[in-house]
């Protein structure tokens, strides 16, 4: 059994190592895969905040992923066409600067998370799962029929957006950027988990009645977690869109929300590097099984099933020998 702290280092080191090795051997596609895993890990770490610490099973996190994606798509599209975004009296210039796009993505998705969270947190349990799903579907159908930005076809951005001092079109440079962001998000997550807020949130997940009797409002704690969670997933969405240089309503689909949950559980709920492990395994399986057989979904399904039934605590739980910290 491997201590979890060491395992975390191993996972992150492994991810970085794969990308560096691929760069050295000139296999840019492997770097792209590593970047994909990195970005999905950021998105899932966001979800892990709501789901792992706050106990909020959101089947609508694709909303924030998609909003981040569209924040990138719309800003870059307007920069591409040199027409400002018209918001009533306000006209905002498009941009191809990643930091600006990230700020927008985070702002928009936090705002959406605030509204969705306020409404959804009136419910709990299965109802919460379903109301978040409903919001996801609303955004999905809206995006499908929003013809100004491509509707179902989505939006193609021909050149990856820029970051000062980097050539983002170089796979390894873009990977490094995403990897640094992943590390920052992980640091934030672990600080949060140990902070007074994390302590209160953790208690709010387990015994809301207790949290109330010490004078705290569990709903407000959960709402704050949901907003932070949405913001992180939104950032990942912007990166994902930049990786593909493309956004489409499929970023809002409920399957994507499901996949994010899969990533978290696969790796280990409420574990710092659970989402990282989950994303790496998922991308590897997708790539490797997809190459083996046309019917690879069957095998992916079987593997997921085995993990749920026999490896509680996910991959990180399995490897660190510590069973689920909670379920």
């Amino acid at each position: 059994m491997i201590p979890e702290r060491f395992l975390n280092a191993l996972l992150l080191g492994g991810l970085l190592g794969v990308a560096l090795l691929a760069d050295w051997r000139d296999e840019p596609f492997t770097i792209t895969l590593a970047t994909r895993a990195t970005i999905l890990a950021i998105a899932a770490t966001g979800l892990n905040l709501a789901l792992g610490l706050g106990g909020l099973v959101s089947l609508g996190h694709a909303v924030f992923f998609g909003l981040g994606g569209y924040a990138m798509g719309i800003l870059a599209f307007h920069a591409q066409t040199y027409a400002p975004v018209e918001l009533g009296p306000l006209a905002i210039e498009g941009t191809t600067s990643m930091p600006l796009i990230w700020v927008t993505a985070i702002a928009v998705s936090s705002l959406a998370a605030l509204v969705i969270g306020l409404l959804s947190l009136r419910t709990s349990g299965v109802y919460f799962i379903m109301i978040t799903l409903a919001f996801g579907q609303m955004f999905f159908y809206f995006a499908v029929s929003w013809s100004a930005y491509g509707g179902e076809d989505g939006l193609s951005i021909y050149v990856r957006n820029g970051f000062p001092g980097l050539n983002t079109l170089d796979p390894i440079q873009f990977f490094s950027l995403c990897f640094v962001l992943l590390c920052l998000v992980l640091v934030l997550w672990s600080r949060l988990a140990r902070s007074p807020f994390g302590l209160a949130l953790n208690a709010a997940r387990q015994v809301p009645a207790r949290v109330e009797t010490v004078g705290l409002d569990p709903k407000r704690l959960k709402l704050a977690a949901f907003v932070l969670s949405g913001a992180i997933t939104g950032l990942a969405g912007a990166l994902f869109a930049d990786l593909n240089r493309f956004v489409s309503p499929s970023m809002f689909s409920w399957q994507l929300s499901g996949e994010l949950i899969v990533l978290v559980i696969l790796g280990g709920v409420a574990r710092l590097c659970g989402p990282v492990a989950g994303a790496m395994l998922f991308v590897a399986l997708e790539h490797w099984l997809g190459g083996l057989t046309e019917f690879w979904h069957v095998w992916l399904g079987a593997i997921l099933l085995l993990i749920v039934l026999f490896a509680k605590g996910g991959l990180v739980g399995l490897l660190s020998g510590r069973p689920a910290s909670h379920d």
């Binding site: 792209t32 895969l33 076809d153 021909y158 593909n244 240089r245």
Partner: protein
């Protein structure tokens, strides 16, 4: 591009062609609900490669799962790792829009065996992009033209509420000269059309035009046939294709659909194609299979003349379209989209099998409406 340069390029290349194999990347949909189309394109394509007997063409095939992000990822892989010379295979317009501009931007040829979004035919056209099937509007335009020829005065038209659906209705209206009894956008992926059929019944239309690809069309036709509304129906070939026609069954009999290909087009290439496809795969070829087959033959014809590494020469070779198409006459317009006849077909039953029969030509030597916007 003039002939002289082209010939010179071809000459120069004969030296190296012997050992250089051409690598083709095929990104298509092989899993999930839309897999039937991708499988047909792949099978048609591979049949042509096999028949050519060439062993210097290597085809790498990957499944895009009908997801744009996967398609982009695969195209990155094929371009960056596999170093393919030519990409092909994408079925869906939204996936094509995600992949094609970036691929041609990186200097890779793309031959489209199915999708033909208007952006790529107009302002977004590229010298490296060739569409071997149709521009998305073509079959709908033909349906509009056929409606005129038949004398329809008052059509009810419907399509899903997404860009291709809007293009479809626009395409129909571009050619159609009569009035409209109604115009409806349905939900994407909708399975029940009772409400729409009731509106058709109440509208006083004399004909119905619909574009509902895949399962949507099957549902619509079955429900329409059962509703007691007996207005003539016209649509593009997608809902009457060999692959899904068996699932629609008798409900489709007599429906007119427009297509640039049909298994009874009378030419040697097509006859041989239908026969060998059936022998090889044990089923009748579909529209998509014919498009895959034609795409491969176009590629082979160009490879006979030039190497993809010499972009100008290869582009010129592709532009010539010097292959015998299953559709008979075939040539490219200035925007690298087909100029071709589009037929009206009727669904008939041959023994146990439902299939199509040509009843006339809807549009002759038809090009698309966007060519003028293309500046290459």
């Amino acid at each position: 591009m003039n002939k002289l340069v082209c010939a010179a390029a071809a000459l120069a290349l004969t030296v190296t062609v012997a050992e250089a194999a051409t690598k083709v990347g095929m990104i298509t949909t092989l899993s999930g609900g839309g897999a039937g189309l991708g499988i047909d394109v792949r099978d048609g394509f591979m049949l042509a490669i096999k028949q050519s007997g060439r062993d210097d063409i290597e085809v790498v095939i990957e499944d895009d799962q009908q997801k744009p992000d996967i398609a982009v990822q695969l195209s990155d892989k094929m371009i960056q790792s596999e170093k393919v010379d030519v990409l092909t295979g994408i079925i869906w317009s939204n996936l094509a829009m995600a992949v094609v501009p970036a691929a041609t931007g990186q200097g890779v040829f793309y031959l489209s065996p199915n999708a033909g979004p208007s952006q790529l035919a107009g302002a977004g056209c590229s010298p490296l992009y060739f569409n071997v099937a149709w521009q998305n509007d073509n079959l709908h335009e033909a349906a509009g033209a056929w409606a005129n020829q038949t004398g329809y005065q008052n059509s009810f038209i419907l399509a899903p509420n997404y860009p291709a659906g809007k293009d479809a209705l626009t395409g129909y209206k571009r050619m159609y000269e009569g009035g409209l009894a109604g115009e409806l956008y349905t939900e994407l992926g909708q399975t029940d059309y009772a409400a729409e059929i009731a509106q058709i019944r109440a509208s006083g239309a004399d004909s119905v035009f619909f574009f509902l690809p895949g399962g949507m069309g099957i549902s619509f036709l079955k429900q329409y046939a059962d509703s007691g509304v007996d207005l003539p129906v016209i649509g593009p070939a997608f809902s009457f294709d060999q692959g899904i026609l068996q699932a629609v069954g008798a409900a489709a009999l007599g429906v007119v659909n427009t297509s640039q290909w049909s298994k009874d087009i009378d030419n040697e290439t097509n006859k041989a194609f239908v026969e060998t496809f059936q022998a090889e795969y044990g089923r009748l070829p579909s529209l998509y299979a014919s498009q895959g087959f034609d795409t491969a033959n176009l590629l082979i014809s160009a490879l006979d003349k030039a190497e993809p590494a010499d972009k100008e020469a290869f582009q010129a070779a592709l532009e010539e379209a010097d292959f015998s198409s299953t559709r008979g006459d075939f040539e490219f317009g200035p925007n690298h989209h087909p100029i071709q006849d589009i037929y009206a077909r009727e669904v008939i039953q041959e023994g146990d099998v439902f299939t199509n029969k040509i009843i006339g030509v809807a549009l002759e030597d038809h090009a698309d409406a966007y060519a003028a916007d293309c500046k290459m």
